[in-house]
Chain length 163, copies 2
Amino acid sequence: MPQAVSTRWCPTAEQLMILEEMYRGGIRTPNALQIQHITTHLSYYGKIEGKNVFYWFQNHKARDRQKLRRKMIKQQQQLPTPQHEAASFSLTQIPPRFYEEQCRSIGFMCMLPKPEVEAPTAQMDSAPRYRALETLDLFPVRSTGIKEEKPRSTALHVSTSSS
Amino acid sequence: MPQAVSTRWCPTAEQLMILEEMYRGGIRTPNALQIQHITTHLSYYGKIEGKNVFYWFQNHKARDRQKLRRKMIKQQQQLPTPQHEAASFSLTQIPPRFYEEQCRSIGFMCMLPKPEVEAPTAQMDSAPRYRALETLDLFPVRSTGIKEEKPRSTALHVSTSSS
DNA sequence: GCAAATTAATGATTTATTCAAG
DNA sequence: CTTGAATAAATCATTAATTTGC
């Protein structure tokens, strides 16, 4: 069997550390330019593509939120259950809403299936290709105000449309 | 105000016709290469980008399905309502499932916010830029077996995980 | 110890919702 | 109200952990 050594991106320890640091720093939905920068920076530590970064943040954010939700439900169930006024609508709702102008900016773009699956003999992240790293050392990882990411109602769909 | 004449893609009649023709032809989730071709082809009739094509199919498919579902619900409600065995789980499910190995292939890619919003003086789809159209005249619009797009259960989540 | 069998994580896609321009 | 755009939720699928029988 010639090729097909791995189908999906496998982040190296450094890459993961940096990504998590950024996440902790407040980055949630990096825009295209940010992703480009992050990718460039991380490519120093191993093979990586923009979409990997994109997906990583999507998944990390989603699973973080999920974890929080579960914890909340659990807490609620452990509460003394105030007899009167027992919730009549599903809880698990994060506070009211913080909004904060979601950093909506990511755009999609169709991407060709995959350039080629080069069959590496044994060299990958062991031989990092010093990609420039020109633009910046790392961009404002912890600025733009750690937005709490508008929670939006998590359960409860009040579709206002009526047609 | 210098620029910003229009933010979103406004499909021309021809573009729309062609897209619908393709949709009727069975295309639902075109892969990147297909999108590229479609875009190239449609750019002959006016300004258009790959993501427009991507979104168009996404939305068209979703809204088509939505329409069907509503129609179904309506029909169900108009039925004599067979007292016994009233559905205990939400209907609106499209038949069983046809599967057919979904043509999964689209990938995302981060895209810069927007190259530039050229302030057109009055020329857009009136002056189509004859973009090559080299690769093909149009690819197999009605082949690869009109896949009915695996309907997948629309309501009813039987998560097998247990943790 | 170790390798097949399970299960848990998590990368990658698709679908559902929501927002908002026209 | 229609629909392009964008994000979030739900799934799918593959890899890593972990368990289990030997």
